[in-house]
C-alpha cells in the first residue's frame, strides 16, 4: 500500500515502562477511507490509537497527518486538527447531560458558529439523543452511550475519526446500527480508523486492514483480500 494518505504512521514504538506495547508499526489511512485494525487483546491496537491522539507519547517514530508530525503535540492541539478519538469504554462524561456532552464535542470548533446546525444534524441522525438530551449521560444504556460517543465525535467535524471497539458489549442489533453510521461518515469526507474485536464486521466495512500481533503488523492489505485469506479466517474469523 504505497498510497500517500491523510495519516501516515511510520515505525512507531510505544512502551509502558518496560512493556513494549507497539514495536515498529507503520500504517496509512487514505482520505475518506475506512481502515480496520484487528488483532487479539493486548496486540497494541488501543495503544496505537492513544499514541496517535497524543494521550501517550511514543518513544520512536512519526505520526504524520497532512504532512505534519503530530508526535509531541498536546492532545487538545491534535483535536483542533480534527483528529478525533473515541476511546475504549466510550469516554462518557457521566455526570454531565447528553446535551452538555454534545456541546463539549464541538468545543474545539467554538467560535466557528456551527454548533447549532451540527447539533440539529446529530439529533436528526440519532433521534434518541434529542429525547434524552436533558438526561445525565451516565443514565443512558450502553448502546445509547455508544451512539452518544459517536455523535459527540461528529460534533467536532472529524477529518480522521478513530473508533476504539465501538461494538464492545452491545447487542447485535445495535452493532449493526453503529456500523451503518460508518459509510455515512466516509461519504462526508471523514476517514475512519477502526479498532474492532468483531473482525468480520470490521473487514466488511473497511477498504484496508492491518492485523496486529504483539505490537507488530503481521498482515495488511485490502480488507476484502484479508477477509478471504486463510490465516485471517483461521485466527480471527473463527473458521476451521
Amino acid at each position: 500500500m504505497a498510497v500517500s494518505g491523510l495519516l501516515e504512521v511510520d515505525d512507531l514504538h510505544v512502551s509502558y515502562g518496560r512493556i513494549r506495547a507497539v514495536q515498529g508499526v507503520s500504517l496509512t489511512v487514505p482520505d475518506a477511507a475506512v481502515v480496520a485494525l484487528i488483532g487479539a487483546n493486548g496486540a497494541g491496537k488501543s495503544t496505537l490509537l492513544r499514541a496517535i491522539s497524543g494521550i501517550i507519547r511514543p518513544h520512536r517514530g512519526a505520526v504524520r497527518y497532512l504532512g505534519e508530525d503530530l508526535v509531541g503535540l498536546p492532545v487538545h492541539q491534535i483535536v483542533r486538527r480534527r483528529v478525533i478519538h473515541v476511546p475504549e469504554g466510550r469516554g462518557m462524561l457521566a455526570r454531565m447531560t447528553v446535551l452538555e456532552n454534545l456541546r463539549l464535542g464541538g468545543f474545539a470548533l467554538k467560535g466557528a458558529g456551527h454548533g447549532k446546525s451540527d447539533l440539529e444534524r446529530v439529533f436528526a441522525l440519532f433521534p434518541v439523543l434529542r429525547e434524552r438530551r436533558a438526561q445525565l449521560a451516565g443514565s443512558l444504556s450502553g448502546g445509547e452511550q455508544q451512539i452518544l460517543a459517536i455523535a459527540r465525535a461528529m460534533m467536532a467535524r472529524p477529518r480522521l475519526l478513530m473508533l476504539d471497539e465501538p461494538s464492545l458489549g452491545l447487542a447485535p442489533l445495535l452493532v449493526r446500527e453503529i456500523f451503518r453510521i460508518i459509510p455515512r461518515l466516509t461519504a462526508e469526507g471523514t476517514a475512519v480508523l477502526l479498532v474492532e474485536q468483531n473482525a468480520r464486521m470490521a473487514l466488511q466495512c473497511a477498504a484496508y486492514a492491518y492485523v496486529l500481533q504483539t505490537g507488530r503488523v503481521v498482515l495488511s492489505g485490502r480488507a476484502a483480500d484479508l477477509l478471504a485469506a486463510p490465516e485471517v479466517q483461521h485466527a480471527y474469523l473463527g473458521a476451521g
Partner: protein, 289 residues
C-alpha cells in the same frame, strides 16, 4: 434570639462556603489538596486591608483582594503543583503547599507584623430592625456578596464553555483533552477562580470580625477543608450547603453556649454528620455519577 443567630450564622457560613468551594474546585480538577488555600484567603484579606487603609471604597477593596488572590493562586499552581503533579505521590503537593503557606504567613508578618490588626469598617453601618431581628447594613453586604458570588459561580460552571470545560476536566481529564479542552489551562483558571473566592471571603470575614492576623488563614482554612468533606468531596453545591450549616452551628453555639467553644462545637457537629453520612451531605450524588 434564635432567628437572630440564624441570620448571623448564614452570614458567617456564606464566607466559609466561599473558602470551601475553592478547596472543592481544586480537588475536583486535580484530586489533590491545596493546603495553602487558607493562606491565600489570609493574603487576600491583607491586600484588602492595604487598599482600605489607602482609602479605596469597599467595592475596590473587595475587587482588589480578589484579583490579588487570583494572581497568587495561579503562582501557587505553577510553583507548588505543576512541577510535582505528574511525578511523585499525592503527599508531595501536601508538603509543597504547606511550605508555600508558611512562606506567605512569614511574608505577611514581615510587612504587617505578627500581631492582630484592626480592619477598618467599610462604612458606618446602620442597624435595621426587622421585628425581633436586628440586621446591620454591613451584615447585609457580607451575606449579599457571598450569595451573589456563589450564584455567579454556579451560572459560570453551568452555562459557559469555560465552566463546562472545568467540569469536564474535573470528571475525567483524559476525556476532557479528547474534547479539545486545554486541560492545563482549565486547571490554571480553576486556581484563579478558587483563589479569587478565597480572597473575597478574606475581606468579608475581616469586615465581620473587624480584624485579622497573619495566622487567620490557618483556622479558617482548616474549617474550609472540613466543610468540603462535609459537603461531599468535589461537590460545589455540597460546599455551599456545608458552609451555611457550619456557620449556623457556630453562631448558635455562640448564642446559646459560650463563644470560646464555637470551633469545638462546629467540628463536633461536623464529625457527627460525617459518622452518619461518610460521603458527606451531598456525597451520594457524587458517587452515583
Amino acid at each position: 434570639m434564635f432567628v437572630q443567630q440564624l441570620v448571623n450564622g448564614l452570614m458567617l457560613g456564606g464566607a466559609y462556603a466561599l473558602v470551601a468551594i475553592g478547596y472543592t474546585l481544586i480537588f475536583g480538577v486535580l484530586n489533590l489538596l491545596h493546603l495553602a488555600h487558607g493562606d491565600i484567603f489570609m493574603v487576600g484579606a491583607y491586600v484588602g486591608l492595604a487598599l482600605a487603609l489607602a482609602g479605596f471604597p469597599p467595592w475596590a477593596t473587595l475587587g482588589g483582594a480578589m484579583l490579588a488572590a487570583a494572581a497568587l493562586g495561579v503562582v501557587v499552581e505553577r510553583v507548588a503543583f505543576r512541577p510535582v503533579r505528574s511525578r511523585g505521590s499525592h503527599v508531595t503537593p501536601l508538603m509543597t503547599t504547606i511550605a508555600v503557606g508558611l512562606v506567605l504567613q512569614h511574608v505577611v508578618v514581615k510587612i504587617f507584623g505578627a500581631e492582630p490588626v484592626a480592619f477598618p469598617a467599610p462604612f458606618a453601618a446602620a442597624a435595621l430592625a426587622l421585628g425581633p431581628v436586628t440586621l446591620s447594613t454591613l451584615q447585609l453586604l457580607i451575606l449579599g456578596t457571598s450569595v451573589a458570588l456563589m450564584a455567579l459561580l454556579e451560572l459560570f460552571l453551568r452555562s459557559t464553555p469555560t465552566g463546562m470545560a472545568i467540569r469536564a476536566t474535573a470528571e475525567n481529564p483524559t476525556v476532557a483533552g479528547l474534547m479539545g479542552i486545554n486541560v492545563s489551562l482549565a486547571i490554571v483558571i480553576t486556581f484563579a477562580i478558587a483563589s479569587a473566592l478565597a480572597g473575597a471571603a478574606g475581606v468579608l470575614l475581616a469586615w465581620n470580625f473587624t480584624g485579622l492576623s497573619p495566622f487567620f488563614g490557618v483556622k479558617v482554612g482548616l474549617k474550609g477543608l472540613a466543610i468540603m468533606l462535609l459537603g461531599g468531596l468535589g461537590n460545589v453545591t455540597g460546599a455551599m450547603v456545608g458552609g451555611l450549616v457550619i456557620g449556623v452551628v457556630e453562631a448558635l453555639s455562640v448564642g446559646y453556649l459560650e463563644s470560646s467553644y464555637r470551633d469545638a462545637f462546629a467540628f463536633a457537629v461536623m464529625i457527627l454528620i460525617l459518622l452518619a453520612r461518610p460521603t458527606g451531605l451531598l456525597g451520594a450524588r457524587l458517587q452515583s455519577g
